[in-house]
Assembly symmetry: C2
Homo-oligomer: 201 residues x 2
Amino acid sequence: MEVDRSMVRRGILFVISGPSGVGKGTIKEALLKKFPDIKLSISATTRSRREGEIDGRDYFFLSKQEFNSKLQNNEFLEYASVYSNMYGTPKQYVIDNIITGNDVLLEIDIQGAQKVKGQMPEGVFIFIQPPSIEVLAERINVRGKDSPESIQTRMAASQEEMAMVVHYDYVIMNDKLDEALNKVEAIITAERCRVKNNIKR
Amino acid sequence: MEVDRSMVRRGILFVISGPSGVGKGTIKEALLKKFPDIKLSISATTRSRREGEIDGRDYFFLSKQEFNSKLQNNEFLEYASVYSNMYGTPKQYVIDNIITGNDVLLEIDIQGAQKVKGQMPEGVFIFIQPPSIEVLAERINVRGKDSPESIQTRMAASQEEMAMVVHYDYVIMNDKLDEALNKVEAIITAERCRVKNNIKR
């Protein structure tokens, strides 16, 4: 059976971004439960797998050789080196889903979001903000997985990154998680009602 | 005590519009309950008061002389003659609220919405759509307050008006009221999270 593509609306790319430790991952997980029809964009990385992470769900864990091979084939929407590890967003998966009318969720750091915006400016870019720099510091410390030097570096970077909010469509302060979550859910529901997102191709 | 106006965000004008009989009024009432901080823009009209309507709540009921006087003083954001009655949206109330940071809700027909958009293009324009022309006809008949001729005229106008959706920001089909309501609420919550609506003046 042939699909009449003229009747298929394009999917929407939702980008959840913000400084490290702000709670992007928790929000992402909750969104996937609330909207089971949204496809999660899974990043590729060369960093080592952390406890609880599953290959193909949290990341595609690649060797440096594998990563570089895909890089040379222009298979990433964006890529970056963070703490000497490589991260990248596989391009084809995002584009295929959007063309067939599936919405895609991408959780990514601020630098990555800017690069994705350069390639897909029609995406919906959501900035998750900590209530304050102090709260951000606490949250990063609570993790207890990083060295004090690493935390210091990340805090300094975060302060610069906070100013990047002006390049986003939406900003949500993650003070109380359930309130922040309601707002992200509202954004997804609202964007699906946009006239420009309901024009049949 | 002086207000530091540099710290006040501007309010948002939400315009709920759509063909006659689509359920705009019901949605408006529900929104005001859900968001008690939103100010309702009340129209002025020369038409006679219907049962249950209250002056200053549903409309400002004016004589033709009073209406024309305000018209000459340029006190309306838009105005129109419908079935030989005059309708107008008082301008100052909307502008005052937006400047002081209050969101304003305006329920208005499609022609009125287009005129408001000409003066306030930064508003958020939401089009409420009937599930089908047949359902719209049923709903108009259910009211039982209008003559068959009036219904016919309104149906024909509605079909033309439906094409105006392309000039709106959002479109919501009012098939099931609670679902339509959830979507309008999501739009209000989402728009309040827009970066451009959170920049302090």
